[in-house]
């Protein structure tokens, strides 16, 4: 009886991964191919992404939903960016020197940044500055993955993830100030950090 139940449970898990693959495999391949313009590398990216995501299947509640679809897009495109950067040797700055430029303390929370009505625009602006910043911020605060999990998912070091989250927050702050949120905040009497 236990064996039978085990098989049933296992069938459910199997269909979840299979469903995910057959639902999104074309889209995953398309994203990777668009970035890398290489048929074989795009194949590798799809395989890598599936292997990585299979370790987190218990965190995926539903397959046919925007949350899961966007999650796959984020994973595939960030793995692709990393491969692209490696290929083009763009990412030449060693991690140690990247970490040096990050101050010890995080950016202080400043209430003037919060404008819920502008959040969608902020997300768009952040994505325009650097898609990876927006993606990692989303993985961290929306999907609630830890830094080490994000690092494992998108083939990055944990230190690099931390740096990118920090930079994403800095970029958001800059955009907020640029967009006049500062004036709004002042109008409502919030104190701003100088």
């Amino acid at each position: 009886m236990v064996g039978f139940l085990l098989v049933i449970e296992d069938e459910n898990t199997r269909s979840k991964l299979e469903e995910l693959y057959y639902q999104y495999h074309k889209e995953m391949f398309y994203i990777a191919y668009n970035i890398l313009k290489d048929y074989h590398e795009a194949q590798d990216i799809v395989q890598t992404a599936i292997i990585k995501i299979s370790s987190y299947m218990d965190r995926i509640e539903s397959i046919k939903c925007n949350k899961t679809r966007a999650f796959l897009v984020i994973i595939v495109r960030n793995i692709s960016y990393n491969i692209y950067n490696q290929r083009k040797r763009r990412n030449t700055m060693p991690l140690d020197s990247i970490e040096e430029i990050v101050p010890e303390e995080d950016i202080g929370p400043e209430l003037h940044m919060i404008r819920l009505d502008q959040a969608k625009e902020m997300a768009r602006l952040l994505s325009n500055i650097n898609k990876t910043y927006a993606d990692i911020l989303t993985l961290k605060y929306f999907y609630e993955y830890s830094n080490s999990e994000i690092a494992q998912l998108i083939n990055m070091t944990e230190g690099n993830v931390r740096v990118k989250i920090h930079r994403a927050k800095q970029a958001l702050k800059k955009e907020c100030l640029k967009e006049g949120a500062l004036d709004e905040a002042n109008r409502y009497g919030y104190q701003t950090k100088k």
């Binding site: 085990l6 679809r69 929370p109 940044m113 819920l116 997300a123 929306f142």
Partner: protein, 240 residues
């Protein structure tokens, strides 16, 4: 906790929620972008060998998942079994301490110490030779499951009875010169040699009788086991 620390923690929570909300908006943007490219995605030429790879990978993945699940189940069951065992041991201890009948049963677990090891063996209530006995012969070999049922002295005869169900071995030993009377009517009698001494083996119906003597004692052994086994018992009588 200082007020400023509490304020910072609260603000951090607010900002984490805000970043989460930006993430949610980012997802909407991603989906919108992907939907715009919907037609191109549909038309993409997807390599078939990834499907083949996936089938293999999925098989391995299923196997791993099954092992993981089994491990989880065993861990859970292991905890339950440990608790159950602890309960049984606790109950057994309490019963042993409080109920005499139970204590007797438990103490029948006979603990025997050896030099290299300690063996624990459950024994039924076996008769033992009285301490007052000396200079008697005892079989060092007994067929499996035979145990001493009775030991008694009648005049100068020492009698040992071993049983295993309805099988028995009756060993009577006495100083030389004791008279034994045997029923040999319709019986087969053969001369035998036991440890260099002559003896007589009499088989009648289901019973076998062996009579022999050494320089000290005369023996009369009666049994309903096969004569070969009985011979082994007789040959292995040792003085104690």
């Amino acid at each position: 906790m200082k007020q400023t620390d509490m304020d910072t923690r609260q603000k951090n929570k607010i900002f984490e929620s805000y970043y989460g909300y930006i993430g949610s908006c980012h997802i909407e943007n991603i989906i919108a972008d992907q939907d715009n490219e919907g037609e191109e995605i549909k038309e993409v030429e997807f390599p078939k060998n990834i499907d083949e790879w996936f089938v293999k990978f999925h098989r391995k993945y299923r196997r791993k998942e099954r092992v993981k699940k089994l491990n989880r189940r065993f861990k859970k069951a292991g905890c339950k079994v440990a608790v159950l065992l602890l309960l049984v041991i606790s109950m057994g201890t309490v019963l042993t301490c409080t109920v005499e009948a139970f204590r007797i049963k438990i103490l029948n677990f006979f603990i025997e110490d050896n030099k290299e090891y300690t063996s624990v063996q459950v024994k039924e209530d076996e008769e033992s030779i009285p301490d007052s006995w000396s200079n008697y012969y005892y079989p060092e070999y007994l067929p499996q499951d035979f145990m001493l049922d009775n030991s008694e002295i009648m005049n100068d005869k020492k009698i040992l009875r071993f049983i295993d169900g309805d099988k028995f071995i009756l060993i009577t030993q006495s100083p030389n010169g004791t008279n034994y009377q045997m029923d040999t009517e319709n019986a087969e009698a053969d001369k035998i040699v036991i440890n260099d001494y002559e003896g007589l083996l009499i088989e009648k119906q289901e019973n076998t009788t062996i009579i022999w003597h050494n320089e000290e004692c005369s023996f009369n052994i009666i049994s309903n086991i096969i004569s070969d086994e009985l011979m082994k018992v007789v040959k292995n009588l040792e003085k104690r």
